[in-house]
């Protein structure tokens, strides 16, 4: 493969907001992009620290999100609280394996993939590793892309609660777990957005 120069070594810089390439020497003291006036940073400041902080917050929130019920249903068949995993199991037992799988992917597999993938990216960047740089960049893009699909369960619970308003015949209400779960989605998205993938390619001594 042809070795490609890093903009860092050529004295160039790319604006993260508008994509303009700038010679660093021409930037004024304020380091503002000449086109969009955003602050230009060679690398996102404190990227790994901020990413790690959001990642830990996401993992902490993930615990109550799974332990607490997300929805309370009542009706002619009695009352019950359901958690995310409980809901998936219910679908599975009822034979709706496709819906069970979809919710499993969105609510369990995606957050877990994000925790592991971001953890791996942070670990290898800290180690200054040169292992599979291209694959790790692809992994970052996958994390960036799948992030918001976890919002699925929040939407399903909200729609179900909005629709099931038949008092004794059947009613559904949201429970605390769903707020924690919404928090997990937001916080892990912030974690992924704080990570600067260019760190994967930097060689620091």
């Amino acid at each position: 493969m042809i070795p490609l120069a890093q903009s860092l070594d050529l004295g160039l810089s790319r604006c993260r907001t508008c994509g303009l390439s700038v010679t660093r020497a021409t930037l004024g003291a304020g380091m503002r992009c000449p086109s969009c006036q955003s602050r230009m940073e060679q690398r996102t400041p404190y990227s790994t620290e901020v990413t790690l902080a959001w990642l830990i917050a996401g993992m902490v929130l993930y615990i109550p999100a799974n332990l607490l019920p997300v929805m309370h249903t009542s009706g002619l068949l009695g009352e019950s609280d359901s958690t995310i995993l409980g809901g998936i199991l219910e679908f599975w037992r009822a034979g709706d394996w496709d819906i069970a799988l979809l919710i499993f992917v969105a609510s369990v597999a995606v957050p877990f993939t994000k925790f592991i993938a971001i953890g791996l990216l942070l670990f290898t960047v800290r180690k200054n590793s040169q292992w599979e740089q291209r694959q790790r960049t692809v992994l970052y893009r996958i994390v960036e892309f799948i992030g918001y699909w976890s919002m699925l369960d929040v939407i399903v619970v909200a729609l179900t609660s909005a629709l099931m308003q038949f008092q004794i015949l059947g009613a559904a209400e949201p429970r605390a777990g769903i707020a924690f779960f919404c928090g997990v989605v937001v916080v892990t998205m912030l974690s992924a957005l704080s990570f600067d993938p260019r760190l994967i390619w930097d060689r620091r001594s």
Binding site: R14, T137, V138, P174, W201
Partner: protein, 200 residues
């Protein structure tokens, strides 16, 4: 046009080459998209934004789902879903939902309309810079496609118990998703050259 292109994901430096219709320039090292030939120009962009505004309005005025039991009817769309989460501090989730499925798509459509309206005459809209920055930052948080999938899951989930039917809103939100995806293909980064000293 920038003579030098730098990869957003791996910082590799390239000399820009002219792209033809349908071309996508990928980073040789990490595979990121470096640049795209603009398949959506200002006029078609503006048309798409108008379509998005119409679909967004329909999706929010008509029911997406409805259930009828013994003469009682309940309906749901984005706003009903948000309101159903307003219970004590669970309202935090209502905020999250309102932002990602209502406020941000609405702002995206309004701001894109504003920018493109001026771009038609080759001018930069007032407060172009801050608007473009905001559009850039809002992009990951726009979730109407997730809402569509959520509505479909809710239908399958509830269909076993109650007679649930999809309203016109579900078609509107499906169309909105498609139009927003098409709009996402036109690269806002290239609009920075609109009306700048260098020309287009």
């Amino acid at each position: 046009m920038n003579a030098i292109v730098i990869c957003r994901d791996c910082d590799a430096v390239y000399r820009a080459v002219p792209l033809h219709r349908g071309d996508v320039a990928l980073c040789r090292r990490c595979g990121a998209v470096l640049a795209r030939h603009l398949s959506v120009n200002v006029d078609s962009g503006l048309a798409l934004v108008c379509a998005a505004a119409i679909f967004f309005t329909i999706a929010n005025l008509t029911p997406i789902l409805s259930i009828e039991i013994a003469g009682m009817q309940t309906r749901a769309n984005v706003w009903f879903a948000v309101r159903s989460l307003q219970e004590g501090w669970i309202s935090l989730a209502a905020f999250g939902l309102a932002f990602t499925t209502f406020l941000i798509p609405a702002l995206q459509i309004a701001l894109l309309f504003w920018v493109l309206l001026f771009a038609r005459t080759g001018r930069r809209a007032p407060s172009f810079g801050p608007i473009m920055k905001l559009l850039h930052q809002m992009r990951p948080w726009s979730m109407s496609e997730v809402f569509l999938l959520g509505a479909l899951v809710a239908i399958v989930k509830l269909a076993k118990w109650v007679p649930i039917s999809a309203g016109p809103g579900i078609w509107a939100i499906a169309a909105l998703t498609a139009v927003l995806a098409l709009l996402g293909r036109c690269d806002p980064a290239s609009w920075w050259s609109i009306g700048s000293e260098a020309g287009t």
